[in-house]
Amino acid sequence: MATNRTLPFKDMGGCSISGVMDESGRRFSGEEIIRSIRNMHERSNGLGGGFAAYGIFPERADQYCMQLMFDTPEAKRETEALLDERCNVHYAEDIPTRPHEAITDEPLLHRYFVSVEPDKSRPHLDENDLMVELHMEINTTIQDAFVFSAGKNMGCFKGVGFPEDIGEYFRLEEYEAYTWIAHGRFPTNTTGWWGGAHPFSILDWAIVHNGEISSYGINKRYLRNFGYECTLQTDTEVIAYLFDLLIRKHGLPLEVACQAMAPPFWEDIERMPEREQAQAKAIRAVYGGALLNGPFAVVVGSTGRMIGFSDRTKLRPQVCARGGDRLYIASEEAAIRTICPDPDVVWHPDGGEPVVGELQAGVQVA
């Protein structure tokens, strides 16, 4: 009887998100995050799952770990030719996987630890800019090749399947990271393909997202002004690019960046003290193209940091908890308690209010 339990369709809408960060920098195995995301099995439908892990390649922390999927050997050869031309490949290997009965049609999965040399003809571009350019170039010009992460000392692992199966397939229990984020997918706007699973990543930014960005059309055009080409037919990648643009390129403080993406309502701005109000007005006026509209809850990973935030009316769930040195952010409280049965504090942040985990002062991860 119990196994035949069915849920109304609408209750099943929405993805699952979980993120754990140890702010002391202590690294821990992927087993816990798999357990957490498994707890929310009903929130996904087997069309996509994925993870991002930070601090997993300490021995190559100064090199970009480019993880790619190829549908054809030709694509792999073409990509490798481009890589040889554009960067130094220090080490390459197949991404370790194990055969899994639930995982089929897997692409070729390979990773390259690379570094890029400054481009003397374009001195204004730093290595990150060049890396983004390379990432975009592969994804837009080489058919059947797809970069799914390209940051330092981090990596994404994703594919078509339930997230717990994907985790097992990628042998995540064998990695140790100080931040893990995970996503189980219930796709509604694109068909399931390996590249379309979450997280979406650029440099060391990785985003898992539950929701739909109604402002995608303008976010995409806004980002294009700054050289970001959205290639994935999915709204989540704009969040990754926006973080990269606002924080890395524009140098906005994290809270300002979050405010740009999920700003307070004008009626709330009207009630702010003068200086704060002027600032909030300026952010909205200037960064209107970065406003993320529609229901969403995201967890964003980056080096030394994990951020959770949701849309300004909080149309998608997000729960946070702390236990010891760890910050937990998940779609459901149960997903936290399954790995941290007795947290110190559990809370529900307001819409648009960022929750930030940061490595404690002095902690070096790479």
Binding site: K10, G13, T188, N189, G211, E212, S214, S215, Y216, G217, I218, K220, R221, Y222, R224, N225, K249, H250, G251, L252, P253, E255, V256, P263, F265, W266, E267, A278, Q279, K281, A282, I283, R284, A285, V286, Y287, G288, G289, L291, L292, N293, G294, P295, R312, T313, L315
Partner: protein
Amino acid sequence: MPNWLIEPDFVVERDPDRCIQCEVCVRQCANEAHEFDEELQEVFTDSTRCVGCHRCASLCPTDAISIRPAELEFRPNENWSAQAIRNIYKQSEQGGVLLTGMGNPEPLPIYWDRMLLNASQVTNPSIDPLREPMELLTHIGSKPQRLEFSGGETPQLETTLGPQLELHVPVMFSAMSYGSISYNASEALARAANEVGTYANTGEGGLHEDLRQYAGRMIVQVASGRFGVDVDYLNSGAAVEIKIGQGAKPGIGGHLPGEKVSADISATRMIPEGTDALSPAPHHDIYSIEDLRQLIYAIKEATRYRKPVGVKIAAVHHVAAIASGCVRAGADFVAIDGYRGGTGAAPTMIRNNVGIPIEFALAAVDSRLREEGIRQDAGLIVAGSFRCAADVVKAIALGADACYIGTAALVAMGCHVCQKCYTGRCNWGIATQDPYLTRRLNPNIATRRLVNLLESWAHEIQEIMGGMGINAIESLRGNRDHLRGVNLTDRELNVLGIQMAGE
């Protein structure tokens, strides 16, 4: 010589069973189509004088009057249409340039009607604007690419934003001068803009002393005739708009005949009473883009950089490049007026044949400015026949910051689009200076109607946005994913930058 080749446009029919001989129609027709025969004690109508403005029918207390097109049929001829033939009769009879008023009425495609909007279903909740915030607040002005913050515990904004127009509804009243429209109409536009929190535009006619109290919500225009322009005028408004062109008559100047230049208009325009007010076709100090830049900065200096200074251009073939040039010349906003834009008077041939549709102009300009990375540098206002809230939403989704409405505002005040503005005998008291007619427009009523219109449109815009699951207009602006085309060719879809319905 009798004008025997000139045929009536309309037939006015009076139902004798309903007519009560009250003479209301007689008193209301400035064209003297109705006449009361004292001897017979009966009203008669001369249909040849009817312009189809409906004033008599609207006020007839018994609905005894109906007006229909004159059914004098020529032998069917797709090429030699009745209008074409009649135009030739008229010109051969009277000579001269065919004149007309209002916007282009020709059966050219209306692209707004070929674009459809999106709405949320299941995966993304639509939002009820009656329950949830639904933000329309729009800022128009030059914005920096990025903001600078100083570090520290709480970030401090270091960037100073340039002057911005702040619109509570992304719809403004387009330039209509005092002179082309009556004082009461000008007053109503100014008051309504204040009440709603948007802007009216003086047009090129200067700003009447009594309307300066509303100038905080008015854009003051500087046109080729420079009527009414002095430093106080420039500083009195919320923004300054340099008018280069107008959608209804790109490349053409204006002419307000001396008989309309009353004492009041002469004072407002700063020209002698009774003299013709001639607006040259070009600004004679702007023969190229660098001259425009000089004027923009001259005005910015005169207004101490406290007012946005924009440029209004007609949508012509190279509009994208021209708009880009205006932005690079320092314009804080660019207003583009499409080929359906209205006018008080224009040569018919110009109005009906010059310019391009605003939909394409807008799409091209927004895309071009984004390609050049200068879209942030200027606000983008579009004009040229916005008929309803959906048109506005589509324009914003294509990339506009706001729309100008002219004809729609006039219609709200009672205009029946009879296209006879240029005669100065507007029976609705709008496009006239005749004191017998101007009093027909009670500015209190007109203000109320304009406010109602804008508020209705605002509600409709909010409803549409709510349906899309968007609660801030900045997420609609330029969001062409929410538009789909129907009845459009690939090239048209391409220029518009939208997908086909079903894609």
